[in-house]
Symmetry: none
Subunit: 228 residues, 4 copies
DNA sequence: AATGAATGAGAATTCATTCAT
DNA sequence: GATGAATGAATTCTCATTCAT
């Protein structure tokens, strides 16, 4: 499993939607403060409960200033999702660096994903809510993650590490779905007294999932009952 | 995989939130009309775009009447999600009736789920949106589905049809996550010119998923590299 | 000069823009209170300084109620202009009733117009401001007045009371323009200490204007120097 | 009819409202660019739709710079109206030069006024809008025009070219009102496919108006029925 | 049991003006 | 002289909910 980062260009020069001109250094700092505030507010309150006033207040910035940097509530939300996508992919590819086997890489990739989810539980909610706020940007999010996953699977199939009968695209989406629901169920729903999720997945669950995935991907030694 | 219906009692006598008394026959009919209108409106417009007026207008009922049957917008939404949950589970268990093998049952259960999703794409969206409207009711939804799934897995493990090393709860959630994302990606995102999703999943995807699950669940013949 | 009232239908049944249904009696009363409040507020503050809150506060009505009766600030403004148009035409035709000669009718018509302007000075401002708020409705206003005027001129030409060489349409617009500017200058600009305009036009001005119009319309006895 | 230009001093030295000191040559150029931009923007969009940013952007000047030259949006608007007043009066007096008779002068004056209106329809709209933005400056506008008109009428009365029974002030205002409404109706409302008004007034209208005015002003040969 | 007029808190957004650079 | 980021008061409009009929 590889997540070739940089496949997508996230570094385009930032433009003020109000003036159409590139941001000055001061401007970039303000924009960043807004994004950070939005992260907290959207995460804590959800998209519809959040409001631009809440965001600017948290950012310690005048209300009108918001519109120098973002067109609307939706547009800062989208910017935030894209930002989170970049970070979760980074967390995953970082975790996978130095993996020595396919299984190791799998395990590490999921561990990276779960760690990000556990550390930013509320942020993960933001991503999922995007389905109802900005479906296009959610597609982008999932697609970017799957692309890397799928490429890794193909490579592993070539060297015989993964069952060649599996369709890589289907498999990639299926595995991501697994990860999402497991993360939701066993991290986001398992809050302690302070409302914090566990720092990491329960080992029973993590190992159970690892075994499941290992089973699923391993090349078959004997030919099982064929499909249909 | 079994979905023991009736595990949850959906047939409690209906009470008017306004008067606190049970509904008359006429009242029940009005309530039903409201729910049916809500189904269409929430499905077409989503929770936040929907409004009580739109629902009562569609139901051909006075605005004030709404509050004789439901406490709030959220409460009719929740009632609807519970109704949909019942129906999707019914679609799945119906599909599984008469399956002769574990694999067959798996396949049929997923097929039932996908059929429901394809036939009521917007309704399924309602269920997913519940995560942000009423998290408790979404948990209920998932949990009810998983419960049946998990029970089925345990039985299959006992008779040796499923790898005994798998944790049934983890596995059930993982498989449901797979199903969800596959359904989202290959049904909900694949609209034709009229915006209708395909009537059923692309066979490549369906077979790919079946193989993946079959791999994942099958008892191992040889002992693979164990988890760290 | 005749102002055949009823040429335009102002009595169409009133419809709620929110529900699309005809107004109940209670609804009509509320609508009327809003229009009366709007009259005062627009007159005192002008269109842009006026606000929907100011209107509803003055009407002693909840803010949200406004939108049950009017779509927007502009739409109540337009309704008001149409209402004023009806009233100024009524004031004019009433004044002209019982005039025995053409000159008498002229004089009475203008007197009616000036009386209305003097009694509702600020309202007259509303009409003029319509040019910049809703040009279509202003056209309607002027056109409705001119239509009656023009018809009267044609009749008077037929019986030889008015110079047949005059173009009736041009003449009607010209006379209305006269009346407007005279009213503006010698009524609206001539406020007393309390900001009230004079109850009627200075006789010097009124007589001066009467003579001017009488000159202008009278059939010529000798043929003057013809137009180029 | 004469329009003694220069009756009002438009050439006072320009002062920066920010520093209180006279403008440098560079400053005067910037001020001029702002006024030119304001002319276009106010004309195209009207006072309330116009904004300082639009003006400075059009002028190619920084937003903050605006306040070095004008106190406020209203003050640049007023400066513009005064400028337009100068130009429309110039257009009129230029047209009247070389008129040989009173009637000729009348006709030429109105023609000059209509030519300006036809050539700068949007600018003329600016002047009319002044009534609601800055009533004082509109009074100034009208008064300056009327003053010249009235002086001309008095002279003509002295030499017997104009009915001595007419009140010159009333007459001047009445004639200006005529011109305004005729211009509005037959120039500003008569746009072609491109939204351009006709280059000049329809001859039927122009001649009709000329006859009307000629009738109105001509000394009476026989004594008509006197005013009540 | 049914109705729909009334409500007002709350949201997004605009823009003239200020002021530190 | 010139700049443009920052500001926040003010505005329009929505809609879940109440309540008198």
């Amino acid at each position: 499993m590889t997540l070739p980062d940089g496949m997508v260009d996230d570094d385009a020069e930032l433009i003020s939607p109000a003036t159409g001109r590139p941001l000055t250094k001061r401007g970039e700092a303000t924009r960043r403060r807004l994004l950070e505030a939005a992260e907290v507010v959207f995460a804590e309150q959800g998209y519809h409960e959040a409001s631009i006033v809440k965001i600017t207040e948290r950012a310690g910035i005048g209300l009108g200033t918001f519109y120098l940097y973002f067109d609307s509530k939706q547009s800062i939300f989208e910017a935030l999702v894209i930002d989170l996508n970049r970070r979760v992919r980074h967390s995953m590819s970082e975790a996978m660096e130095g993996a020595t086997s396919r299984l190791d890489a799998e395990r590490a990739g999921f561990a990276g994903f779960f760690r990000f989810t556990a550390e930013h539980p509320a942020l993960y909610r933001v991503v999922r809510e995007a389905e109802f706020v900005s479906p296009e940007v959610l597609r982008l999010h999932y697609t970017r993650i799957v692309e890397g996953y799928e490429a890794g699977l193909r490579q592993a199939q070539e060297v015989g590490d993964v069952d060649r009968a599996l369709d890589p695209e289907t498999t990639a989406w299926a595995l991501m779905g697994m990860g999402e629901l497991i993360g939701m169920r066993f991290l986001l729903w398992e809050r302690d007294a302070d409302g914090r999720p566990p720092a990491q997945l329960d080992p029973v669950v993590f190992d159970g999932m690892t075994r499941l995935i290992d089973n699923a991907l391993a090349p078959r030694t004997t030919q099982p009952e064929g499909p249909k």
